[in-house]
Structures are given as structure tokens and as C-alpha cells.
Symmetry: C2
Subunit: 174 residues, 2 copies
DNA sequence: AGTACCATGTAAGCCGTTACATGATTCT
DNA sequence: AGAATCATGTAACGGCTTACATGGTACT
């Protein structure tokens, strides 16, 4: 049921079309929740049926702009504050990291190296976002979340570097 | 398709029964991949059909011990080294953290406080695991992974403390 | 007129959760 | 004998991905 609340949450920030929500899922939510347009449009229809969101405008190309209703806001708050969080996760990257020690040293180094490249890109992109947020006129409520992302990725980057060093100097057949 | 490789990976560490795999998913993999026995048993049957695992023994209570085959090891290596990683994640906790700034200060503090309690428990449990691993006779290949878990949770803990402080001293109606 | 991108929708099939179901072994 | 735990399986349902499908708008 998380998709429902992800959509409500994004609409609580600002009214949006399904297309805009799809992009936001790709950009801001890619590190915690992922959804495609084929899931988002039907979900918006369901939320509208339940009066948790409403259409507040029609734009070019048949686009519909949705906004959260008071009932939707109440539902969202209820979930965030009162529902028991499900702490389980699904992260293929995490699984890969867990299994990498099974590889022989050469393969292991190669996969750590590949991950390191990706984390560096991730960090660069987050630092850009941070710069944008700082330059914005209004203080942005989501700035701390960006900061957390940077810290976690920094820890990951350092850990990967250590593993690479250990593999290189260790019992490798190199 | 990740479940397949998670199971192959665990069997590459040591032969196990479906029941043991279920427990390992609960303990070691709960932070990256989650699976119930109702998914694991059918997956083992499929892997056996594909000759990626084989039954190597029957124990008490009709239990079957599975081991990975050479073909299974090759398949696992191929996935870890050559397949393009899927970096998308699904974490309800991450989503909640992302949406928490939408709450009013009192609710926000309450949810951060709840998360902090959980992270502290997580850290305590990881530190226990680290102690066990250090006390083990053979050097454990997965020790660095435990270390990474501790570092990430430490960053999270500190971040949550900062958010709590900021909420308390900030523009709350408290 | 053609291409690229904006924008929304539906359908088939796979993956995962919850619930149902059964039997073996150990402990009291 | 009864309860708890070990151990394996199946079925129904819902969520998610991939693929199919359509039309609008802007640019060249």
C-alpha cells in the first residue's frame, strides 16, 4: 500500500499531473520508492474515487492536474504517524554487496570498482541538488533529506575504497 | 529475478535446508532482501529443475538439504559480475523519512523519535553480530558487510538526533 | 510532413504476501 | 497426551513490470 501514500505525499507538496509525478518518482524517490506511469495513472484514478485527491485543472495535451484533498491529508498523516512502519527492504544493490565476498579477488575488485563509479556519480548529483536547494529563495524543507543522502553515500564510497585496498593488498592472485 | 540469486548465494556459502534459508533471510538479509518460506520452497524446486542446485541429503522431519551445483555457481557469478545491476530500491522507511517534513512539528518529532529508537536497536544488534564474528575461529568473509551496516546506521542515528534538535529549537508551536 | 517529446491509458504475466494445510519431533 | 517448534508445501490475491496502444503539441 505504500504507493498510495507516496502519491499522496507528492501531491501534498504541490498539485501535479500524473506525468509530473512519474518524473518525480524517477528523480527524488528513486532511492526509496520506485513506480512507473503504468502504476501511477491507475492509482490516481483509485485515489480520486476515494476522494483523497481531486482534479483541479486541465492543461495542454489532455493533462489533468491533481491536488490532495483534506481527507487525503488526514489519511497521509494517519499513515505517517500512527501506522506501524514496515522496515523490510528490497535492494538488489544491497544483495549484491552482501554476496560479493563469494567472488574470487579479481571479480570482487571489478564489482567494487563498478559500484564505486556509480556511488561517485550519485554523490556528484546529490551535491548539485544541494547547491540548488541552497540557492533557492525559500528555505527548502527537504534539504536535510538531501544531506542524509550525501552522508550515506559518502560512507558507502569510503567503505568501497577500503574493500578495494584490502582486495589489492590481500591474498589476491594478482 | 533477484530471489533466485539470493538463494544461490546463500547456498554458495553452505548447503542448507529451505527452513534454514528462511531463517537466514530473516536475519542476515533483512536489510537488503526479504523472502518468506512460501516463496523459498517453490524457488528451490525451480532451481533443482534447472540443475542449479541439488539435494545432497535428507534429515529429520522430511527435511532436504540443498547444495549449489557448478552450473549454479557459474550462473551466480555471471549475475554478480556481468549483469547490469538494477539500482532501484523499495524501502518504506526511506519513503517515510522523505515525507516526514510534511508533518507539523509535533508529529514530526514523534516520528523521528520512533525511528531513533529503532535505529538504536538495530545498532545494538549489529554490534552483537560484530562481536560474534570477531570471536569466531575462522576469519569471516562477511565482517566488512557488518561494519558497513554499523556505519550507515550510525550516520542515520546522528542525522535523526540533529532533526530532533532542530525541531525542538526551531519554529515549533511547542 | 516528419520527428521528437508530452501525456495518458490498458493488458498479460510475474513476483510477493497472507492464509491455509499437513505432518514430524521434542519437551513437559 | 498436549503444546511448542521444526519443516515443507499450496492457493488466492494483490502489486509491479513489460509491452502495447493512442493521441496532442512543438519544432524543423
Amino acid at each position: 500500500m505504500s504507493l498510495r501514500y507516496a502519491v499522496l505525499g507528492l501531491l501534498a507538496r504541490r498539485p501535479s499531473t500524473g506525468y509530473e509525478l512519474t518524473q518525480t518518482f524517477d528523480r527524488s524517490l528513486r532511492t526509496s520508492w520506485h513506480a512507473r506511469h503504468s502504476q501511477i495513472y491507475p492509482e490516481l484514478a483509485k485515489l480520486e474515487d476515494a476522494d483523497l485527491v481531486e482534479v483541479v485543472g486541465h492543461g495542454a495535451r489532455r493533462s489533468k492536474t491533481y491536488a490532495i484533498t483534506d481527507a487525503g491529508r488526514a489519511e497521509l498523516r494517519q499513515w505517517l504517524v500512527e501506522a506501524e512502519p514496515d522496515r523490510s527492504q528490497r535492494s538488489e544493490s544491497g544483495l549484491r554487496l552482501f554476496l560479493t565476498p563469494l567472488l574470487d579477488p579479481a571479480d570482487r575488485q571489478a564489482t567494487y570498482q563498478r559500484d564505486l563509479v556509480h556511488v561517485d556519480q550519485e554523490l556528484a548529483s546529490l551535491q548539485e541538488v544541494r547547491a540548488e536547494v541552497r540557492a533557492a529563495p525559500e528555505p527548502e524543507a527537504f534539504a536535510p533529506q538531501v544531506e542524509l543522502g550525501i552522508r550515506i553515500n559518502t560512507v558507502l564510497r569510503d567503505w568501497l575504497r577500503e574493500q578495494l585496498q584490502a582486495s589489492a593488498g590481500g591474498p589476491g592472485h594478482d
